[in-house]
């Protein structure tokens, strides 16, 4: 019995700790486990979740994408501005195309030219911040006919009681999970992340695979921008600031390795949801808003530590 418990803790220490946290919050608040609150949390994480789905592809190849935060800002500004100029459908097409194009730039620099992904995407982060101000002229943009556009569907409507952004997030996650698990492209990504040299020796074009992961990351950021623009019906120049870290936090918390080759979309969804519930729980327990910033990364450090300890058999041993 004791051994079984130890085994459980070793394998799923993080999830057990999370369950304990959930139980603790639930015992101390009434609203926490209500359907309404759960859907609220899911709606809140749908934007970061959507982005994390794409960034997971990049991370699985052993690379990073830190540009998604300011890419989200730029794309949200674009979708809102274009909505006013060209209508909702064109705005969405342009936004998604722009997301893919920006991702492709990252993809060429990291994948084909072989530059370090941290440097490239940090540069892109900074470059896009500048581009936002250039595009918007420094002022906020708002959708002019906010009351009567069908564009509101993506941020504000529900489908069978489930918020549309949540449906979009989970649908994107399902497609991504299928691609990673059941297609040759998915296998190539795990191969490149697990051992790039061996993959090249196996005839896999690792540069091409890496390139496409960044395009996917740009695409999901475009989808996230559509949700964001629709929810806010406008865009400030800082709307996506810090999102890259939240996205990365969710991926790491889920247990996908930053070294590549190990992890999954399921883990990312779990990690993102855990972050959402932790932040929501802290608010419900009456902690001020900024406490989540103190707690989030502390939780991640502890999670990584537990994981490492469990692998070395030192904790719970």
């Amino acid at each position: 019995m004791q051994d079984a418990l130890k085994g459980l803790l070793r394998r799923h220490g993080l999830i057990v700790a999370f369950m304990v946290f959930l139980a603790g919050v639930a015992l101390n608040t009434d609203a926490f486990l209500s359907a309404g609150n759960i859907l609220d949390v899911l709606r809140q994480v749908s934007i970061t979740g959507m982005m994390a789905v794409g960034v997971t592809f990049v991370v699985l190849t052993g690379r990073l994408d830190l540009s998604v935060g300011s890419m989200l800002t730029l794309l949200t500004v674009i979708v809102v501005d274009q909505h006013n100029q060209s209508g909702p459908l064109m705005a969405m097409i342009i936004t998604l195309a722009a997301g893919c194009a920006l991702g492709a730039i990252n993809g060429v620099l990291v994948g084909y030219i072989g530059l370090n992904s941290l440097i490239v995407t940090l540069a892109m982060l900074s470059f896009l911040q500048g581009l936002v101000l250039f595009y918007s002229g420094g002022s906020n943009v708002n959708i002019t006919n906010a009351q009567d556009t069908w564009f509101a569907v993506f941020g504000r409507a529900s489908l069978f009681g489930i918020p549309v952004p949540v449906v979009m997030f989970l649908a994107a996650a399902a497609v991504a999970a299928f691609v990673l698990k059941f297609t040759t492209f998915g296998r190539q990504i795990y191969g490149v992340g697990g051992n790039e040299t061996a993959s090249v020796f196996s005839g896999i074009d690792s540069r091409r695979a890496v390139f496409w992961t960044y395009v996917i990351s740009g695409l999901t950021t475009g989808l996230a921008a559509i949700i964001m623009g629709s929810r806010v019906m406008g865009a400030q120049n800082t709307i996506g600031q810090g999102y890259e870290l939240t996205v990365l936090a969710g991926i790491i918390l889920g247990g996908t390795s930053l070294l590549g080759g190990s992890g999954s979309i399921g883990r990312t969804v779990l990690g993102i949801a855990m972050l959402g519930f932790i932040q929501n729980g802290l608010l419900l327990l009456g902690f001020p808003y900024y406490v989540q910033w103190l707690v989030t990364w502390a939780v991640i450090i502890i999670a990584v530590w537990i994981d490492l300890g469990a692998k070395r058999g030192r904790i719970f041993a």
Partner: protein, 502 residues
């Protein structure tokens, strides 16, 4: 009266699912070289890591100079006088020789400032005692592998080690460097140091050791005097049976030419390489480490870009291919380093097997997992690969079983040419002869085979024809009665005139 420096008594070490060491006992006497042999996974490395403080035993005791000790970590082991010289060297390339000799145990004054002069003087003394041709200030990264090994051995001098453990020390040394190493080992021995020598190479074991302890499945099979035993007995102890017929050569029945290269060059690596290989033929490529053999086949396969040269495939001239094109044409390359180039270690055997041929195991980009699993099972059975299942990470398998998966991943697409680069390096005797048999079998089935090997008996034993390479050029070719050790040694020890002139 200590005629034993270090004694291990009933050491047991269990890892999840495996009993790596099962009541192992053995001892080391001053001034002896004690060989530790066994197949991969027999427990040699675990035992040595336990002695060097990298693992803590679950049971049993270690007696050092007659007293029981616990070795808390590698630094403590070194301070005590027990030194492990790793298979993969544990040096920091950016630091100087002196700093590496004392790595982690630098002499400092009471403010924690490095005593540079003491460090240099002591290091210089240790290097001189070993007869090294370089000083303490050289950056380690600029030294050759053999010289780096001497830096590690210099630790034995510097720390006045009583026990030095060598783990596969000759894996990447040339014959010349090996002779120097053996001189050094004899030197240490004459000073009364007890030496443990781990190797797969039996000729070395019989050359340098005094006693041999054989491990199998974590248990000691016995300890014998080297002078009173022979290869047969040791092999029998290691695998529990005798290996007759160590080498099998395929029947010499050749068909059409499969591959021909002419004037292949790659700047700084090799130049003007020309040869061809036919169906059913085993072509050996022999040469010292660094002669450019691996680079040649990697260039043919397309992993490296050539600077010039022509290539014919099945008689038709084609542009130099990319790896993808090579694979699709029916070329297979079992690379030199199975861990770095051959396998995705965190994947299982199933996913590794299909990796080069994803298009064969899918329809419309969707993986056909059933077909993948069937192929995995077929080769896992045919090659007798020991795993717990199709998805057990190959990192957990022994070297021999890993190598068999590298073979499986290429054989499953029925190649026309298979290139094997050091196919038996670092694997156990049993797997080794299985691979030799496989080479003969493949050639008799009509494949063209190229074998690169640094082991002369192997290259002579399996090949119909051998090319020797030296410093980036093909210097000679031998076949039939010309396939002798003398010829090969003679060929590789002469520098090619064209390259020497550069």
């Amino acid at each position: 009266m200590t005629d034993v420096i270090l004694e291990v008594r009933d050491i047991t070490k269990t890892f999840p699912g495996v009993k790596a060491l099962d009541a192992v006992s053995f001892d080391i006497r001053p001034g002896e070289v004690h060989a530790l042999v066994g197949e991969n996974g027999a427990g040699k490395s675990t035992l040595m890591k336990t002695l060097a403080g990298l693992h803590q035993p679950d049971g049993g005791e270690i007696l050092y100079m007659g007293k029981p000790i616990t070795v808390a970590g590698p630094l403590e082991a070194r301070q005590e006088g027990i030194l492990l010289i790793h298979q993969e060297l544990s040096l920091s390339p950016e630091l100087s020789v002196a700093e590496n000799i004392y790595l982690g145990a630098w002499p400092t004054n009471r403010f924690g400032v490095l005593k540079k002069r003491e460090l240099r003087q002591n290091s210089a003394k240790a290097l001189k005692a070993l007869g090294c041709g370089f000083g303490p200030d050289v950056r380690v990264g600029t030294l050759s592998v053999a010289m780096q090994q001497m830096v590690e051995i210099a630790r034995a001098e510097a720390f006045r080690a009583n026990v030095v453990i060598f783990d596969e020390p000759t894996a990447s040394l040339t014959d010349n460097e090996k002779d120097q190493l053996f001189q050094t080992i004899r030197n240490l021995k004459s000073k009364g140091v007890g030496i443990v020598y781990i190797s797969h190479k039996m000729d070395e074991i019989f050359d340098i050791t005094d006693r041999i302890t054989v491990l199998r499945d974590g248990q000691v099979q016995g300890t014998v005097d080297t002078a009173g035993t022979d290869l047969n007995q040791i092999t029998r102890m290691m695998i529990g049976r005798t290996l007759d017929n160590y080498f099998v050569k395929a029947k010499a029945e050749f068909g059409e030419e499969v591959l021909r290269v002419e004037g292949l060059s790659n700047k700084g690596l090799f130049r003007d390489v020309s040869f061809s290989v036919r169906q059913g033929e085993v072509l050996g490529l022999y040469g010292l480490v660094g002669a450019g053999r691996s680079e040649v086949v990697e260039t043919i396969f397309g992993v490296r870009k050539a600077d010039g040269g022509k290539l014919w495939w099945n008689g038709a001239e084609i542009p130099l291919p990319t790896p993808r094109q090579s694979i699709d044409m029916g070329m297979a390359l079992v690379p030199e380093s199975r861990k770095e180039q051959g396998l995705v270690l965190m994947m299982g055997g199933r996913e590794n097997t299909s990796l080069p041929h994803l298009q064969l195991f899918s329809s419309g980009s969707i993986m056909d997992k059933k077909k993948e699993l069937e192929t995995y099972r077929k080769y896992q059975e045919a090659l007798a690969i020991k795993t717990t299942g199709p998805d057990q990470a190959v990192s957990q398998l022994s070297g021999g079983n890993q190598q068999k998966f590298v073979l499986a991943k290429w054989l499953c697409a029925n190649p026309k040419l298979i290139i094997l680069d050091e196919p038996t390096r670092g694997i156990d005797v049993g797997s080794k002869s299985a691979i030799h048999e496989l080479i003969a079998e493949l050639a008799e089935k009509g494949l063209a085979v190229i074998v690169i090997s640094s082991e002369m008996p192997e290259v002579l034993g399996v090949s119909h024809r051998v090319l020797t390479m030296s410093e980036g050029a093909v210097v000679a070719a031998f076949e039939g009665d010309g396939l002798t050790e003398e010829n090969l040694i003679d060929a590789v020890s002469h520098q090619p005139a064209s390259v020497a002139a550069e």
